[in-house]
């Protein structure tokens, strides 16, 4: 699997780049615009937990794994020790992620918050249309 990596300051204003890269890679996999919009929402939802709405000191490391028909996006936050990050998804977030992604996880290992999201090309919904 090919991987593209991105490292950005942990502010919401930089998430645009994450969305653009995700969309660009999804486009190469022939995702439809509906699926791309979903992917961007999923990425935003997870990244928002890491950056918070105000941003944090530190960086976000994002890796995009490009499969034959799906993308795997993982991210982690490198923050100040002691920075409290909520890694428990709200019920609403869970619902959003279940809708827009095939798999979405947010967790914390050794004090490092991480997420993983995967999305396959062409949701059934789109084909059925």
């Amino acid at each position: 699997m090919e991987t593209v990596s991105l490292s950005i300051p942990a502010g919401p204003e930089h998430l645009r780049l994450v969305r653009l890269v995700a969309a660009g890679l999804a486009s190469r996999l022939q995702f439809t615009i509906d699926d791309i919009e979903d992917l961007k929402i999923g990425v935003d939802e997870l990244c928002a937990y890491l950056t918070g709405s105000q941003g944090r000191e530190g960086t976000l490391e994002i890796a995009f794994g490009v499969g034959d028909d799906h993308l795997e996006i993982s991210g982690s936050g490198r923050f100040q020790p002691g920075d409290k990050i909520r890694t428990q998804l709200t019920e609403l977030s869970r619902m959003i992620l279940d809708t827009v992604a095939d798999e979405a996880v947010l967790e914390q290992n050794d004090g490092v918050p991480r997420f993983f999201l995967s999305k396959r090309r062409a949701s059934e919904k789109t084909i059925d249309l």
């Binding site: 645009r16 969305r19 653009l20 969309a23 660009g24 486009s27 022939q30 995702f31 439809t32 615009i33 509906d34 699926d35 791309i36 919009e37 979903d38 961007k40 929402i41 935003d44 939802e45 928002a48 918070g52 709405s53 709200t90 019920e91 609403l92 619902m95 959003i96 809708t99 949701s123 919904k125 789109t126 084909i127 249309l129």
Partner: protein, 255 residues
């Protein structure tokens, strides 16, 4: 509401009934009829601003606010016809919109135009293909590169429409009010109200935003399907959805 064209005298009569009406329901009814009667004027005026990088549907909403103001201020004792009186108010509202609330950040004109082009093409292609188009298909149809298309889609989020996307009061919505869009399959909306307990902020959202959220995440409709259902563009759905999610996240964070 039907839109039979009324004569000048009939319009004046409608105004008299509106002014005479005392209970809010009757007022809303007459106001709705007055709006309906002049929505064509709003559309006509809004169209004059359409090549400035904003969607016509949004401009019509802005113009409708101007129309409502004109309806409130119109003085029946004056000899002037209402449409003559309302025109500068509506145009003023549109101009003010561009002055105050245009692009949230300065977006190069080329990108604004691209955004508009994409809005149209995405809609047409979707109809033609019977499914949501890919970026490559959009690029081909617009003659743009895929990179430009992706950038253009992202730019959609640069709009700042907070005020005009907010619902105008009552049933004064003009062409199609949101209530018109309610289908039988949406009767489970109470379900959403119930679920709203998981995010009380959701209950505070304007009706349209809440509905889009509901249709997307509770009913599983795609953005394109929602766009069809509500009679707005997919890009507009995307913008509203993204903005709503940002608001919700912020609200939840502040808890």
């Amino acid at each position: 509401m039907e839109r039979a064209t009324l004569s000048k005298e009939e319009v004046r009569e409608l105004f008299r009934e509106y002014r005479a009406a005392e209970d809010p329901e009757a007022q809303a009814k007459f106001r709705g009829q007055l709006v309906n009667q002049h929505i064509g004027l709003v559309e006509f005026l809004a169209r004059r601003f359409r090549n400035r990088g904003e969607l016509l549907e949004d401009l019509i909403q802005v113009g409708t606010i101007g129309l409502l103001k004109a309806i409130e201020r119109f003085d029946l004792d004056r000899e002037v016809e209402f449409s003559t009186y309302a025109t500068p108010t509506i145009v003023g509202e549109l101009k003010r919109h561009f002055r105050d609330k245009g692009w949230a950040v300065r977006v190069p004109r080329r990108l604004q135009e691209l955004h508009l082009k994409l809005t149209n093409v995405v809609g047409h292609l979707g109809q033609e293909l019977g499914r949501s188009p890919t970026i490559a298909e959009i690029a081909q149809a617009t003659g743009e590169t895929e990179e430009a298309v992706l950038e253009g889609l992202e730019i959609a989020q640069a709009y700042n429409f907070t005020s005009i996307d907010a619902p105008i009061d009552g049933d004064s919505g003009g062409t199609t009010t949101f209530a018109d869009q309610l289908g039988a399959d949406d009767e489970h909306l109470e379900n959403l109200e119930y679920r709203a307990s998981l995010a009380p902020e959701m209950a505070k959202l304007p009706e349209r935003e809440r509905r889009i959220l509901y249709l997307r995440f509770f009913k599983g409709l795609t953005q394109s399907e929602i766009a069809d259902k509500l009679g707005i563009s997919q890009m507009h759905v995307s913008r509203l959805l993204n903005r709503t999610l940002v608001q919700l996240r912020r609200a939840l964070e502040e808890e």
